[in-house]
């Protein structure tokens, strides 16, 4: 396996647009640290291309931006990229971060099953994001969405900086708690429902497998 990152950036609906755009901070950090990064943008985030790239490049860190189920991670227009019992071996031994609902429940566990030294960081429930509809023309200025996506970005950014999977998870969760505190301190500006959805992500974000895994 080689040191490097594959990142899917489908942009076929509002949420995947947010995830993909906010991934620019991850891509910047990888460049600063001279880590090779292969983006799979829009239609390139399809199953055939993902499998080809994953096998050919054999990079040790994969970041998924896309919808999911307990046994699937999806790409552009919800085409299934990885599915348990079909091609989950593509992820074995690697570090995976999936911003995909429920994927840690079953697929994540299969990726880190016996013999694998990899880890899977993801969610055992829906990954939630709140957004300000007034910012839809300039997503990176959306303060509310940033409460969710900056802590989430902390996972790959911490790994890129050389931290372990468990350290990256802790930094991310700490950042979620700080976001919650900011929201609750300004009730005139921010709805407490934002804090609730942040809590959902805090409670349901898990690290499976090798907790000491590093890129």
């Amino acid at each position: 396996m080689k040191k490097g990152i594959i990142i899917t950036l489908p942009r076929h609906d509002d949420l995947t647009e947010y995830l993909s755009q906010f991934s620019c901070y991850i891509i910047e950090e990888a460049a600063k640290n001279n880590i090779n990064l292969k983006p799979l943008k829009d239609g390139a985030a399809n199953k055939a291309n993902f499998e080809k790239v994953a096998k050919k490049l054999d990079y040790n860190f994969i970041i998924f931006n896309g919808h999911g189920t307990d046994s699937q991670i999806k790409g552009y227009k919800d085409e299934v990229l990885v599915e348990s019992g079909i091609n989950e071996e593509l992820l074995k031994g690697k570090i995976v971060y999936a911003r995909s609902c429920h994927a840690a429940l079953k697929l994540g566990k299969e990726c880190i099953s016996k013999g694998s030294n990899g880890c899977f960081i993801g969610y055992i429930a829906p990954f939630k994001v709140c957004a300000n509809s007034e910012c839809f023309s300039n997503l990176l200025n959306d303060r509310i969405a940033s409460f969710f996506l900056e802590p989430s970005n902390q996972i790959p950014i911490s790994l890129i900086k050389g931290n372990s999977a468990t350290e990256a998870n802790e930094k991310s969760k700490n950042a979620i708690l700080k976001s919650i505190n900011k929201v609750l301190r300004d009730p005139l500006e921010y709805s407490p429902l934002i804090a609730e959805d942040l809590w959902n992500n805090f409670e349901n974000q898990v690290v499976l497998g090798n907790l000491n895994a590093k890129i």
Binding site: D13, D14, P126, L177, K178, W199
Partner: protein
């Protein structure tokens, strides 16, 4: 004859739905959009509609709200945010 206890309590009760709907009506501003799973960004009206129709998204919303309220009631939430 079936005993009262033989009846399985519904997973999401009518009272839970009413509570969550009331909270969303009171607390969600009109410009906020909620992304849950692969839903498009929902307005508060759309969330309430899902809850009232008891579909999978509606059930997910209610479960998530109830989980949060339990975390607050148990002290788990305050302990966590005070640790940050």
């Amino acid at each position: 004859m079936k005993k009262q206890t033989d009846y399985k309590k519904p997973e999401i009760s009518k009272e839970m739905k009413e509570l969550v709907v009331a909270r969303i009506e009171a607390l969600a501003p009109s410009n906020l959009r909620f992304f849950i799973g692969d839903s498009k960004g929902m307005t508060k009206e759309e969330m309430i509609s899902h809850i009232e129709s008891s579909d999978e998204i509606g059930k997910s919303i209610v479960k998530s709200h109830m989980s949060f309220l339990k975390a607050v009631a148990s002290g788990k939430f305050m302990k966590a945010i005070n640790s940050a």
